[in-house]
């Protein structure tokens, strides 16, 4: 944790709240999404600079997944606008999806393909040259070379998550959206994935992370936003927290404040770190 924060402190002193030094990787203006009478997002305005490891935090049903789905062109907003790497995800969703990687929460590779075949499929869809070389590289990096030719339905949950991480990064995108990246991974692999995510952003790429696990956000993120009931309630740079402060306390305060106003009731237990058993 400290290693990451030190490195980020040296390399990327940029947070979304003070963004503006370069073109944002992601920018939303008054993004709103309603489903009938229910409001999933309300006037969400965000700016995520390039190179940021950005965390979107919030309780269940706060609009995190909807935000990612709109930014990747899977859903259209009811109103408002968004730009992702300079493209409009509403007008040209395929352009956005070509240039980003997406890892939804609890997504498995296709049951009856092997990891190798699934990544070959992703290579076709994304028009990747030399896909077999990329597959070998990512299988080594994420430790699933031994299971490259095992049907995905027979892999453990952690092994499937590694394959999904590989499909997210295999085309070397400039921007990645990840919903809960560490779920189902053992502690050693969690540490390796965290390092990978940090290295990825250190190379100037942008990562948009949605997570419940505040300790992960505290360790990794260079900027976080907290949403509640679809509204942005706070932005924060975790590195600016005092030595006796925890993001969890900050989060609780924001959510509790919302519940006092009739918003979402804060969860009494917010897990600090995902484990193999958190599926």
């Amino acid at each position: 944790m400290n290693k990451r924060r030190r490195r980020l402190g040296q390399a990327k002193p940029v947070v979304s709240a003070v963004a503006g030094t370069s073109m944002p990787a992601i920018e939303t203006t008054d993004l709103t999404k309603t489903y009938g009478d229910a409001t999933a997002l309300a006037d969400l305005s965000l700016s995520v600079p390039e190179g940021e490891l950005f965390g979107l935090l919030g309780p269940n049903g706060s609009g995190k997944t909807t935000t990612i789905e709109i930014l990747t062109g899977q859903r259209e907003p009811t109103s408002g606008s968004a730009r992702v790497l300079g493209s409009d995800p509403v007008a040209d969703p395929l352009a956005v999806r070509e240039s980003v990687g997406i890892l939804p929460e609890r997504e498995d590779p296709p049951s009856f393909l092997t990891p190798r075949e699934y990544l070959q499929f992703v290579g076709d869809v994304r028009d990747i040259d030399d896909i077999d070389d990329h597959i070998d590289t990512w299988a080594d990096r994420l430790g699933f070379r031994d299971t490259l030719d095992t049907l995905s339905t027979d892999l453990s949950e952690g092994e499937r998550q590694r394959v999904m991480l590989a499909q997210t990064f295999v085309h070397e995108p400039d921007l990645v959206f990840i919903d809960e990246p560490l779920v189902n991974l053992d502690p050693i692999m969690q540490a390796e994935v965290k390092d990978h995510l940090c290295d990825y952003c250190d190379r100037g790429n942008t990562l948009f992370l949605s997570t419940h696990f505040l300790e992960v956000a505290e360790q990794l993120c260079t900027g976080v936003a907290i949403v509640r009931d679809g509204r942005l309630v706070a932005e924060r740079d975790p590195r600016e927290l005092g030595s006796d402060e925890r993001l969890l306390d900050y989060f609780r305060a924001e959510v509790a404040d919302g519940s006092a106003e009739g918003g979402t009731e804060p969860r009494s237990e917010i897990p600090a770190e995902p484990t193999e058993h958190d599926a």
Partner: protein
């Protein structure tokens, strides 16, 4: 396990089945029996407008119910993969032998009984009610309607027991599977040669001529298969990780598939339960039922139906099951995460659909050469792929990548059924009237098939944009 707890298990399985359907299809599922009654009533009424007699209708009902039993009997076992993909990690009570103190055999026996009771009430009851209106107006005694309900229920059990036994034998060994295949071919050949009459050893025999002898001959096999199924079935050992050599590149090259969607689909169908044989099996059952219907209609009426048009039409309609196989593992939202248009997705699905269904249909048409004239077979070979293209287009447009939602989504089911009837009813009529007006029937059959294919292709082209926009 005590008798009381067996009854408890049966009750829980019935509740589980209902909740499974409710989860899949929502509250609309409750209206499904009414729709079955309405559709069957309307269908029987339409038949009164033709020369088709009550006897032929009864034969057709038994044939369709047998086919339905085959499908239902296999869905909990062969279709487990699909359930898992639709609902996540589903664990049905029938698979609970590893965690409950109850044997596989007892679980499967209760599972079969559950299917019989559940579908007798929700499907066969409404079907019999629809038939009753038609039959009473045709002068059939009410007792015969009750008899039809009894024998269709037994026929349903016959189909479900056949599925379970076949699946059970297939789990034993490769030799057992080969034996199963040889046995199926032998029975088919003997039937074609006229040496075996499958009707004589089915509940239909008792319906045709109730007696102690026909009861024994008709219900005996049902009972035997209901016992054999649970005795022979062995669950697959899930403890071994199955590896597979890389087939993706080879299949992709063979299909000239640039997006990989068709390749992926073919591999999924081939590796899931039942492999590509499930395509052959489901179309084979329909082929057999059609052959039986054509024969019985010829016997029971003055009509001499065209087997070519009949085979072409029903095999084309039967390609719907292939559509469900090629989409059973799909989640539309997954494709929305790739830089891939839904047009490309449906194009890939269409290619896999045609690669699987057309050779299977042609194989059965070739088999029919044993007793059907070549010109008729050629006619069937023209009609079949055209109808299949129509079925693909309608199914893709109406249901997207979730065709199984049709089963109990009442409004969707009605719309889909009406769309299929638009093409299939004229074709069935031309098949029935072929000998009386061959030129006209032929012209109408070809015109309807070609028009259907054109409409199907157009609908398939519009399915991509439609389903890309849906839910955004």
């Amino acid at each position: 396990m005590t008798g009381a707890s067996t009854r408890g298990l049966l009750g829980r399985m019935i509740r589980e089945e209902y909740r499974l359907h409710s989860e899949l299809f929502g509250d609309r599922f409750a209206a499904f029996p009414l729709l079955v009654a309405a559709i069957s009533g309307a269908g029987f009424w339409l038949l009164t407008l033709t020369d088709v007699g009550v006897g032929a209708v009864a034969v057709g009902v038994h044939g369709l119910v047998f086919f339905f039993g085959l499908q239902v009997g296999s869905i909990g076992l062969v279709g487990r993969d699909a359930l898992r993909d639709v609902l996540g990690d589903v664990t049905l009570l029938v698979f609970s032998a590893r965690t409950l103190p109850v044997t596989w055999r007892r679980l499967l026996a209760v599972f079969l009984l559950k299917d019989l009771l559940y579908y007798s009430v929700l499907f066969l009851g409404p079907l019999a009610a629809g038939y009753a209106v038609f039959a009473v107006t045709a002068g059939v005694p009410a007792g015969d309607v009750g008899l039809l309900y009894l024998t269709t229920a037994a026929t349903f059990a016959y189909g479900a027991g056949t599925s379970l036994t076949a699946a059970g034998v297939a789990t034993r060994s490769r030799i057992a599977r080969l034996g199963l295949l040889v046995g199926a071919v032998a029975v088919t050949a003997a039937t074609v040669a006229g040496q075996v009459d499958p009707v004589a050893v089915s509940p239909l025999a008792f319906y045709d001529s109730p007696s102690v002898a026909t009861a024994a001959a008709g219900f005996g096999p049902v009972l035997a298969l209901s016992v054999l199924g649970p005795l022979t079935f062995r669950p697959a050992d899930g403890g071994t990780a199955r590896s597979s050599p890389d087939r993706y590149s080879r299949v992709r090259a063979q299909l000239s598939d640039d997006t990989g969607v068709a390749t992926r689909t073919m591999l999924e169908v081939a590796r899931s339960s039942g492999s590509v044989w499930k395509v052959l099996f489901s179309m084979g059952v329909l082929f057999g039922v059609t052959a039986l219907l054509v024969r019985e209609v010829g016997r029971a009426t003055a009509l001499d139906p065209s087997p070519g048009i009949a085979f072409g039409t029903l095999l084309g309609l039967g390609a719907f099951t292939t559509y469900s196989w090629v989409t059973q593992f799909d989640d539309r939202r997954e494709y929305l995460r790739y830089p891939l248009s839904m047009d490309a997705v449906f194009a890939g699905k269409r290619r896999a659909f045609l690669v699987l269904s057309v050779p299977a249909g042609y194989a059965y048409l070739a088999l029919s050469l044993l007793w059907v004239p070549l010109t008729e077979v050629v006619l069937g070979a023209v009609v079949f792929p055209l109808v299949a293209v129509y079925v693909f287009g309608v199914t893709a447009y109406v249901t997207g990548l979730s065709p199984n939602e049709l089963l109990f989504d009442t409004p969707l089911f009605a719309a889909f059924g009406a769309a299929l009837a638009l093409v299939s009813l004229p074709l069935v009529v031309t098949a029935l009237t072929y000998t009386e007006a061959p030129t006209t029937s032929l012209a109408v059959a070809l015109a309807v098939s070609v028009a259907g294919a054109v409409v199907g292709a157009a609908l398939a082209g519009r399915a991509g944009p439609r389903w890309a926009a849906t839910g955004r």
